[in-house]
């Protein structure tokens, strides 16, 4: 699905990502964890070119992202993204948030887009809120709408950038439940998270980043029970 080779990213003189090579297979759920400042969000944002990598290749479905500058929009349409701070469009209702891009970008008919949006809202448990504006929703509800908005574009890959970090503790579960449900449905997902429970339970693979280096990757049971590197062991001791 997505192949990353020798990815580097620098901001000025500061090298944030150093030589990252990895792969996400179709249907896989990959958790990206690591201390803050380790470059995990930057890595995720490189995957849909919100950050332009300094060098390296990113192949999605055989197409090199770095070479096809013109097709950025096309590629981004296939990749959904969920942000820490939701970034819903505040001047649009929940339903309009979901239907705007499918109508504008994919040229879907309004009635079709709305029908699909209602199905998605039902899936995230927010059907009664379709006419509400984002400002009247709780954090957990906003994030569920944001997930539905990304899904409305029918992406092949979903990126989650710390989706629960800005939520009150009692709202984390409702968002994680939606994500678990999504993982079960076979969606390919890359999730930057501090929720070790989610990484352990739901992920097929864990990537551990530290200081911009992909230090360790593997299946979650092995990683959490038997980390191979000292750095991963240190980190896990602090967070678990």
């Amino acid at each position: 699905m997505i192949k990353v080779e020798k990815l580097h990213k620098s901001f000025g003189n500061h090298e944030v990502l150093k030589d990252i090579t990895t792969e996400i297979k179709k249907g896989q759920v990959v958790s990206i964890i690591g201390p803050s400042g380790s470059g995990k969000s930057t890595f995720l944002r490189c995957l849909n070119l919100l950050e332009t990598p300094t060098s390296g290749t990113i192949l999605i479905g055989g197409q090199n992202l770095m070479e096809s500058k013109k097709d950025n929009q096309k590629i981004r349409q296939q990749i959904g993204m969920v942000f820490q701070h939701f970034h819903l469009f505040p001047h649009m209702t929940v339903l309009e948030n979901l239907t705007y891009a499918p109508i504008k970008v994919k040229g879907e008919k309004k009635s079709v887009a709305e029908e699909k949006a209602r199905v998605l809202l039902k899936r995230v448990g927010l059907s009664p809120k379709e006419k509400a504006y984002p400002s009247s929703l709780s954090g957990g509800q906003k994030q569920r709408v944001a997930i539905a908005r990304a899904l409305a574009m029918e992406p092949e890959l979903m990126l989650f950038d710390e989706p629960t970090s800005a939520l009150d503790p009692e709202m984390v579960k409702e968002v994680l439940d939606v994500m678990k449900d999504l993982a079960k449905s076979g969606m390919t997902m890359a999730v930057v998270t501090h929720e070790m429970g989610f990484a352990r339970e739901v992920a097929d693979r864990v990537l551990f980043l530290d200081h911009g280096v992909l230090v360790e990757e593997g299946n979650p049971v092995e990683f959490f029970n038997n980390p191979r590197t000292d750095r991963a062991r240190d980190f896990l001791e602090k967070v678990l």
Partner: protein
């Protein structure tokens, strides 16, 4: 006290006609200023350096010189260069529209930059093209924040429009002067058009408030 409004009565229709004359060119100047100001603002936040540079230079010139000077250059000096005998109406629209666009572009630029950066990222992530993103997502949010500043600019423009009286354009202000000269009484006609200007500005204020309320419905 030497005040006699009765002598002014026959001139009232003449002065009232000035409302229409003033509103006509103010309306077009606001439209020109708003459209051109928006384009300038987009240039100012663009990644293309020459565009940014040109827009900044434009603003610096039109904000850095008196409006009355710009008006006089357009009305009196440009015909000398081009041979085209510009009429007062067009000169007024151009001078006020071009001048106002410099101020409006600054207001809009600030408004766009105040919109949360995440909004642009969300739009990028959904594959929304630049034009649609600006038109449907960024500018509507910017507009909500800058509406009071924008109304202020329109009010200023409406009042400062009195400057066109200096090129002989028969607006409200000019008509008051004409009547004053005719009657040898200035206080009454000046007071009369003063009240009219105030009413116009109050009208604008009410329209602005209505707009603001409509944009606030998503709060």
């Amino acid at each position: 006290m030497n005040l006699d409004f009765s002598q002014m009565v026959p001139y009232i229709p003449f002065m009232l006609e000035g409302i229409w004359v003033t509103l006509k060119f103010v309306f077009f100047a606001i439209i020109l200023g708003a459209i051109f100001g928006t384009l300038l603002a987009l240039c100012k936040i663009s990644h293309i350096k020459p565009l940014r540079w040109a827009a900044d230079a434009y603003t610096s010139v039109f904000r850095g010189t008196p409006l009355i000077l710009q008006l006089m250059i357009i009305y009196y000096a440009v015909p000398q260069l081009t041979g085209y005998d510009i009429d007062a109406f067009l000169a007024a629209i151009l001078a006020f529209g071009l001048n106002s666009s410099a101020y409006i572009s600054e207001i809009i630029r600030a408004g766009i930059q105040a919109v949360d950066k995440g909004q642009m990222e969300a739009a990028h992530a959904l594959g929304i093209p630049y034009r649609a993103m600006m038109k449907d997502i960024i500018l509507p949010q910017a507009l909500k924040n800058i509406l009071p500043a924008l109304m202020n600019e329109f009010i200023t423009l409406t009042k400062e429009s009195a400057i066109v009286s200096t090129i002989g354009y028969l607006d409200l202000m000019r008509r008051a002067q004409v009547v004053g000269a005719d009657l040898f009484r200035n206080f009454e006609p000046l007071l009369f058009v003063g009240v009219i200007y105030w009413c116009l500005v109050m009208g604008l204020t009410v329209i602005g408030r209505m707009f603001e309320r409509r944009l606030k419905k998503s709060d």
